[in-house]
Symmetry: C2
Subunit: 134 residues, 2 copies
Amino acid sequence: MATAPQADWDPYASGCPSREVLDRIGDKWTVLVLGELAESGAKRYTALRRKLDGVSEKMLTQTLRALERDGLVRRTIHPEIPPRVEYEITELGATLREPLRALKLWSIDHMNEVLAARAVYDRRIGSASHEPGD
Amino acid sequence: MATAPQADWDPYASGCPSREVLDRIGDKWTVLVLGELAESGAKRYTALRRKLDGVSEKMLTQTLRALERDGLVRRTIHPEIPPRVEYEITELGATLREPLRALKLWSIDHMNEVLAARAVYDRRIGSASHEPGD
């Protein structure tokens, strides 16, 4: 599949790598990391960790590594003593800037509507069981 | 926080509900379910399950329930024998159509670049350890 033409990628198909990429790019930590790097330029690990309030070291490390591997983030080691490591968004990562910004803004702009919908749902469902059925 | 004005929602803040909503809307199953409902109209559970190749029953049920609770999907029980249950996108859900379509298209359009970046990364890293450092 690695040599298939672009048109063949289909995230609806199980096993297509585009599904895994879709999973990665929509991940909330991806959205927040790339959003921060897009807006503020190169950042050190600790600065990112401070910005992403509450993120665990393990989760941030995994996220950065996956983003680097996918070519969305560049990790640079500046040869100083001690070495300074910085993360910045790549050209490919920058093509995600607007789509991810749209997601982030949606989650802010529509928060009140989502909370209102939840209140209605929770009142309606209560403790009753709710099977999907068909 | 539930009564705070819109401008106060901040997915960078731990505990802000907008982070959880961001997590939900970027989820690959959300992208695929809402994409299908946006394009094809109301769908039964089994039709959705068939379209989302490889999704488990548990995952699809959880996804639909969360989307219904958040007001993004409407679940209608048609009073027939046996009852027919259908899922359709709501007006609120439709506001996500373009942002999510952009994500899905990105994962298709940039798949080759991502695979190329991975090949470079994997060759460079090999079996060497790769600590994040700072």
